[in-house]
Amino acid sequence: MKRIRLLDIAHARSGDKGDTANVGLIALKPEYYPILVKHVTAARVARHFKGMISGPVERYELPNLHALNFLLHGALDGGGTISLKTDAQGKVFSTALLRLEVVVPR
């Protein structure tokens, strides 16, 4: 078994809808998609972002694009214009998710 960062097997883009950030997580190769499906669960992502979001995490699957879509609720300090955050529009939650590490067979 070895430990890898999502950065090594996926790319991502994130954005906002109100106080929710969305992160689209995309496998760099189709054969990596099952790893994402298996390891990057909503619960795992919620643990990863502990202290950064105040609401639940939802996950949706897009097997056609080898992608998962995560909704991180309560991620943006109220969102849009209300937010005091540098990243008020959730633009860099994408690479924050890519820091997550998973353990996969060698």
Partner: protein, 460 residues
């Protein structure tokens, strides 16, 4: 009846109000296109425009649209390119009038027709709607709009593609709209050109996906793309995307030859998932598109084919975007230098917070970030970085409150720290931060039958 074209090329010219001014000009001059689509309106843009209109009734639209039109109209008219743009904001009539004046100045009188789409503005009808039981409950919190009615600044329904189609059918060369969806501005030309039926849900969904793909401009042609980003060529001359669509709902994403950037499956996928909710139901006024049916294929250099899109019938609701006055905020910054940059910034934050407390100031929120350490990735970054060796750290502290004097008092508490706080601090040349009015966004749904789009086409 006119013959239907074999393909239609729709070029994206602006991904938001404030996007690259060179892009629309290059789109209409860099190669063949049939339509130029420009998206100007974000969630809170309407409230800014409403504020401008309340000060001057002839304003309330994206003003930089006018000099842009002055620059491109001669080419557009000569080549027969049509334009769809939601630059009209809360005053599409005034925007259209300004475009007409420019056209006459360019001696295009008699050669150009302008379509105006209105009917999205609900501000004057709000009380009537509320009185008739349309509560406009907040989609996130469930609260009725009556909670904030007295603070509402703007209220607009999102119109779809069909009023734009009507304007094109009426012969409009330039269609100026209020709050029409980003995707509707691309879907409308496809419906118009190919004669798609109102219940051809798969086709309408395909056109909606086309719209979503190019609505953020270069964000699908190499901009903000993470994959192999250092090797994306010539972003200085990035080519904005063009949808090259067929009547069967398939399309390719391309860009003009010789332009920079890259059109790849990776980049297009990143844009498809951008601001995505439940991918099975991407809801617009025109249809419900299923993003899990999209197939992407690299068909050549800078050419991605999109096919397979399925859709379902539109819902009987329209989304409504209400903007209301929320309160005030201010953000102050100071920069601390090595050694112990992070510790000094932390100490300054503690001192500042104590002073705010000692003054008895109350805020709804106080947020501290250490730029250079944790402003982007929070605790994840703090766990990964050597914080004691950072060469510099920017302390960034913000407050928010309904109480303007409290926010104003806060703005006076930053500068003193330069002389009476931790050492090796700089970066205050900009002066005291200014309290900013906060306008918040209230998303709601409204029965479609309550909204009647209005379309006019006028000859210049």
């Amino acid at each position: 009846m006119k013959a239907r074209p074999a393909t239609v090329r729709i070029a994206a010219g602006q991904g938001f109000w404030g996007d690259w001014l060179e892009a629309p000009y290059r789109q209409v001059t860099g190669g063949p296109v049939d339509y130029l689509m420009m998206d100007y309106l974000a969630e809170v843009t309407m409230s800014i425009l409403q504020k401008q209109k309340s000060r001057d009734p002839s304003l309330g639209y994206a003003r930089d649209f006018i000099p842009l039109m002055e620059r491109i109209l001669p080419t557009v008219a000569q080549r027969g390119i049509k334009i769809t743009a939601n630059a009209g904001g809360v005053n599409p009539q005034a925007c259209a009038q300004a475009v007409a004046e420019v056209a006459r100045r360019l001696r295009l009188g008699g050669k150009l027709r302008i379509g105006v789409v209105t009917g999205d503005d609900l501000l004057g009808r709000l009380d009537g709607l509320l009185a008739r039981g349309h509560e406009l409950r907040n989609l996130d919190t469930g609260r009725p709009l009556s909670d904030v009615r007295d603070r509402v600044l703007s209220a607009n329904a999102y119109l779809g593609a069909w009023p734009v189609v009507d304007a094109l059918r009426g012969g409009a060369d330039v269609v100026v709209t209020g709050r029409v969806t980003d995707t509707g501005l691309t879907l409308a030309p496809l419906i118009h050109a190919f004669g798609w039926r109102p219940d051809a849900w798969d086709l309408l969904a395909a056109g909606t996906v086309a719209g979503h793909t190019i609505e953020c401009g270069a964000q699908c042609s190499g901009g903000n793309c993470l994959v192999d980003w250092e090797r994306i060529p010539d972003l200085a001359n990035v080519g904005y995307p063009i949808v090259d669509a067929a009547p069967d709902g398939t399309f390719e994403i391309v860009k003009h030859p010789g332009s920079g950037g890259r059109i790849s499956v990776a980049g297009v996928t990143e844009q498809l998932v951008y601001e995505m909710g439940n991918p099975v139901e991407y809801i617009t006024p025109d249809c419900v598109a299923d993003f899990t049916t999209i197939r992407l294929e690299q068909r050549g250099k800078d050419r991605v084919r999109v096919s397979g899109v399925k859709g379902r019938p539109a819902t009987d609701k329209l989304k409504v975007s209400v903007a209301y006055f929320y309160g005030y905020k201010a953000v102050g910054t100071l920069v601390y230098a090595w050694p112990d940059a992070y510790k000094k910034a932390q100490a300054a934050d503690r001192i500042l917070r104590q002073r705010l407390a000692d003054l008895g100031l109350k805020f709804e929120a106080v947020l501290t970030e250490f730029v250079g350490a944790d402003a982007t990735h929070g605790p994840l970054a703090r766990a990964a970085a050597r914080l004691d060796e950072l060469p510099e750290v920017q302390l960034r502290i913000g407050v928010r409150s309904p109480d303007k004097p409290a926010v104003e008092r806060f703005t006076r508490e930053i500068a003193p720290l330069i002389l009476n706080g931790p050492p090796s601090v700089t970066g205050f040349a900009g002066g005291r931060p200014k309290p900013e009015e906060v306008v918040a966004y209230w998303p709601a749904l409204l029965d479609k039958r309550m909204v009647e789009p209005c379309v006019e086409v006028v000859e210049v």
